[in-house]
Amino acid sequence: MRRVILAAASILTAFLLQNSVLWTFSPLDVVPNLLLIVTVTYGLTCGKRIGMLIGAVCGILSDTFIGDGGLGFYMLIYIYAGALCGVFHGFIYSEEQLFPVVMIGLCDFAFGGYVYVFRFLIRGRLDMMSYVTGTIMPEVVFTVFAAILFYPLIYGLDRHLILTKKRRTSSFV
């Protein structure tokens, strides 16, 4: 139960920070994609199902607040990010820092590519390189920096909650 609350709190915090606070503090007008960090973290540490669930929630939030009127666009990419990272669930061990951060960077790059292709490319904005260097790469860099901060935080708290439980339960999965 506490892990559920932690997950919800992480998503909420990431969402509120991303939308309101970080904009005032960010140079270059670029904000890290904290919701993606939360999704990838849970995907890597808890497996495919939870990764997809977290992804779905993040996606719904993104669709509601950023999207142009319908659900589904951001949901799709966040769910797949969660699922993809869930595939790598068995490959990492607890002290590993580099792989998750690299994974977050790659997922964010794919995220940028997805948004570019389906919202800009199909409207005729063909100058791909300028979007990559101007929008996608800054976001990836900032997200990676934020990941270095946030991934250990979320992962550490989650592990702490697991270890302090008296009985192992599989009710969350």
Binding site: L16, T24, V31, K48, M52, A56, L71, R125
Partner: protein, 309 residues
């Protein structure tokens, strides 16, 4: 990894979720407003938290800002006081001119100038949480009389248009968004063209000027306002000033860049004009029957030059 025996394997869950998303996208494509209640519900749920966090963030930022820029602020204050005195003088002189202008306008039967539009002030409580799009959320909604397609100003210049309205919030698409297109004209020569947002120009703080006729009289520094033929924007709203303009290679059109007046880096307070273009045209056709022939061309011109993404 243990798999509970009664659950669906993850790959099927993924497949089902994908199908669900595609269906949702399809619904949105065919019935654009069907899912609005869901979104409005979620929005309204998060509103108080958003507002709270935003206020905290803003006050912290303010504190840091004032700490860092104390000396500069004092100097600027001095200069501004002097400027203020000079402007006050001008204002007094212009007040008389304005009165005369109002009388002349009344004589000609012209209604609906910029200052007469009813408006309401609002605060920006949330900016886009992505780096690709530029829209923001304000803290006034349908309870305050806000409707979709109302124009939004900031710092004296046009900054966006309302795209979605809930009870106590409204979502505004900024004019610098890639999807935004405005039918505009030069204040001096009245030649019209399109002002479009572009993500690639966003970094430079500029907007695209497109489809200006080759014979249009446009020059750097010209004031650009919304045109009368715009279907969504009220006429006469200041957008910005021409930064650059040149003839295209096709020798048929001119294009260039525009510097918007609204400051998109620092959007905190905005003004929403509580009148939609449709209301304006109904007003003119209803109350001025002898000028209905003048109002009709406005309603007949198709909105083909302008699209809202």
């Amino acid at each position: 990894m243990k798999k509970p025996k009664f659950s669906i394997p993850p790959r099927y869950v993924l497949f089902l979720l994908t199908v669900l998303c595609v269906i949702l996208l399809g619904i949105n494509f065919v019935f654009p407003t069907a899912l609005n209640p869901v979104r409005q519900g979620i929005f309204t749920l998060f509103m108080p938290m958003q507002k709270g966090i935003n206020q905290i963030g803003a006050s912290i930022a303010d504190e840091i800002e004032s700490f860092l820029h104390m000396r500069e602020a004092e100097e600027e204050n001095q200069l501004l006081r002097q400027e203020n005195a000079a402007l006050q003088e001008k204002l007094d002189r212009y007040a008389l001119d304005y009165q005369e202008l109002q009388e002349l306008r009344a004589l000609l039967g012209l209604k609906n100038t910029y200052e007469q539009y009813p408006s309401v002030a609002a605060n920006v409580i949330q900016k886009e949480s992505g780096n690709w799009f530029n829209s923001f959320v304000i803290d006034k909604g349908s309870d305050d009389g806000i409707k979709v397609d109302m124009n939004v100003l900031s710092g004296g210049g046009l900054c966006g248009i309302v795209t979605e309205v809930g009870k106590n919030y409204a979502k505004v698409l900024a004019i610098i968004d890639d999807d935004s297109n405005i039918s505009a004209m030069s204040a001096t020569s009245k030649d019209s063209f399109i002002v479009a947002g572009d993500l690639q120009l966003y970094g430079e703080g500029l907007l695209n000027i497109q489809y200006a006729d080759k014979d249009a009289v446009l020059a750097k520094g010209d004031m650009v306002i919304t045109s009368n033929i715009s279907t969504k924007y009220l006429p006469g709203l200041l957008i910005g000033y021409i930064q650059e303009i040149s003839l295209d290679a096709n020798n048929l059109t001119q294009s260039g860049y525009l510097l918007p007046t609204a400051d998109f880096d620092d959007l905190t307070q905005v003004l929403v004009i509580r009148m939609v273009k449709d209301d304006l045209m109904i007003d003119e056709t209803e109350t001025k029957p002898e000028e209905s022939s003048e109002a009709e061309p406005q309603t007949e011109i198709p909105g083909g030059t302008e699209a809202q993404g």
